[in-house]
Symmetry: C2
Subunit: 336 residues, 2 copies
DNA sequence: ATGAAAGCGCTAACAC
DNA sequence: GTGTTAGCGCTTTCAT
């Protein structure tokens, strides 16, 4: 039905090899031959069949990108930038969602079929990198947002501890002393949250403040609605604070609503920082100061390392940090 | 390197055919043989190679999902539900982003390679369905959110006109009379926006109100920030309204900010409705009343039709509507 | 119920 | 510079 390489070869009166050379822009083809073949290709409307090519080369041109849920704005952002970077390298991206559960992550990682993708970029929610490294040995994996065990896995992340210190110091610079932390998981705190809380506590201690565990406000899951519920419940229970460092923008957005609903003013009564610098931060009222990871660098370095491994590099796991910045907006304005 | 079907066959002392039968759960295999082969598979850790299988069967098990940008919450939602429905049918989803441009859509649709995906679900931003139908004839396509020309393309959408009437009538029921519409594109209104504006105007006319073109507030692009700018500028220019039907939730979120920033109160001064019922509507302050398309039905019907075509159905294009509802929240509460 | 062999569409040695 | 041919890993008639 579809026109094949052989059809073009027959039509142009040349061999498959020559047509293949033209299709793949192989340099050593005479101009007139190239033109003749190209005409045949155009007239027949030939399109190379990926599967045939992939079988022959062993490369699929496909990458898997795995994370909890695209509906979480940070992951949508990640999908966008990874897809862009992949495209620049001639690759396409297969979305794999894990729902943030261990089963989901296991399912994604222990693929029952092989040869679909050449590599995988994964931001695990719960699985540790040791298990990760053991599950999928047939293709290279780059881990995002978590320091991978130094086996064959590479990792890229921002320095969560440092970034949390920066955010917290910024709140301190506003003269706030009772600073809460919101949005980490209620059950089984993830590594990401642990690191951010560590940075938050370090900054407090550096300022001579003893971290008060009551000021840690966990929420059920990473949604803004849960963030609102958690912060709302804390306020209703009488908890008071004048600064709030949030685990992510969703928690911050939820906190914003919980506070306003109860008559607290941001930033006058409570200074707030978010994390991820997702598009929504610009348009909440007040807009949100947020930690902005360099997403482009993140995706770019992750794919660099992934392709090095696809190309055969076989050294120890490499662990890279990418830059971040604090973008100040109304919820915690810049301080002179 | 990787273990192949032949390796398993050798190891188990049977033919490839038998192993293949076991792998694919072919019914006519004797239990003892099945067990023997299964043990070989387990011991060798055999995983069938997708590409080999696909080449042989002609099915890739992959679907393309194309739309403007995953960072737009509605599309993230769409990606999520389509991925889920596809998985239930044993398929995976390849993300294709068009950036909402004609070039982007053309690039996605006029794939230079064939055989990668078995079908495509696309929500076009600018390309009309006639061009769509002509561009990609090798695989079936289902169009979302736009009434496809009745060639070989199927389409699924909500009744945009009717939904816009429902939203507008709800605002009218609040006793509002100067009702604006916000968030449609400034340049080259999309078909979606056109339909929604039509429904909005119909509802006004039914209520005996002559639609005032000044109350149409376009914005530069579908982001909340642009929505805020557009509505803000309109207010600053002296435009006044007591109701606002928004093209989508992003526009509504932007409008919310623009209004609050200028001291207008929602819903007291202005009643607002959004569209898409994205997660953020729950947690804005005030929360947003929004048109909620039945996303599950949308994805489910789209994939049903797509698979019918993949399986050989070759009739005229079918055009289906899926249900929607109006979810009332604080920005436009339910009216008794 | 199981085996043998012919492809699926393409690339890559290797020859000419 | 171009043609020949042998796979890539799997499924699938067709035999047995």
């Amino acid at each position: 039905m579809a026109v094949r390489l052989q059809d073009v070869a027959d039509y142009a009166g040349v061999s498959m090899k020559t047509v293949s050379n033209v299709v793949r822009d192989y340099p050593h083809v005479s101009p007139k031959m190239r033109e003749r073949v190209q005409r045949a290709i155009d007239e027949l409307g030939y399109r190379p069949n990926i599967m045939g090519r992939r079988l022959a080369t062993g490369r699929t041109g496909l990458l898997a990108l795995a994370f909890a849920d695209v509906r979480i704005p940070y992951f949508a952002e990640l999908a966008q930038v990874v897809a862009n970077e992949a495209e620049r390298r001639g690759y396409r991206v297969l979305l794999e969602q894990t729902e943030g559960t261990l089963e989901g992550e296991r399912a994604v990682v222990s693929a029952s079929e092989s040869g679909l993708v050449d590599g995988m970029v994964i931001q695990p929610s719960v699985m540790n990198s040791t298990e990760l490294a053991q599950s999928r040995t047939d293709i290279p994996i780059v881990v995002l947002g978590e320091n991978a065990a130094p086996l064959t896995l590479d990792s890229v992340m921002v320095d969560n501890v440092e970034a949390a210190r920066v955010a917290t110091r910024h709140v301190l610079a506003h003269g706030r002393r009772r600073i809460a932390f919101a949005g980490h998981e209620e059950t089984g705190t993830t590594r990401t949250s642990t690191l951010r809380i560590a940075g938050y506590q370090q900054a407090l201690e550096e300022a001579g403040i003893i971290p008060d565990p009551h000021l840690l406000i966990p929420s059920l899951a990473v949604t803004a609605a849960n963030g609102a519920r958690a912060v709302g419940a804390a306020l209703d229970a009488g908890l008071r604070f004048d600064g709030l460092v949030c685990r992510d923008d969703l928690a911050a957005i939820g906190a914003l609503r919980a506070l306003e609903e109860r008559g607290f003013r941001v930033p006058d009564d409570v200074v707030i920082t978010g994390w991820d610098n997702t598009p929504m931060t610009e348009v909440t009222y007040p807009s949100l100061t947020s930690i902005a990871p360099d997403m482009r660098a993140l995706a770019s370095r992750a794919l660099d390392m992934l392709f090095e491994r696809i190309d055969g590099y076989d050294g120890m796991g490499r662990h890279e940090l990418v830059p971040f910045s604090l973008v100040t907006r109304e919820s915690a304005p810049a301080v002179e």
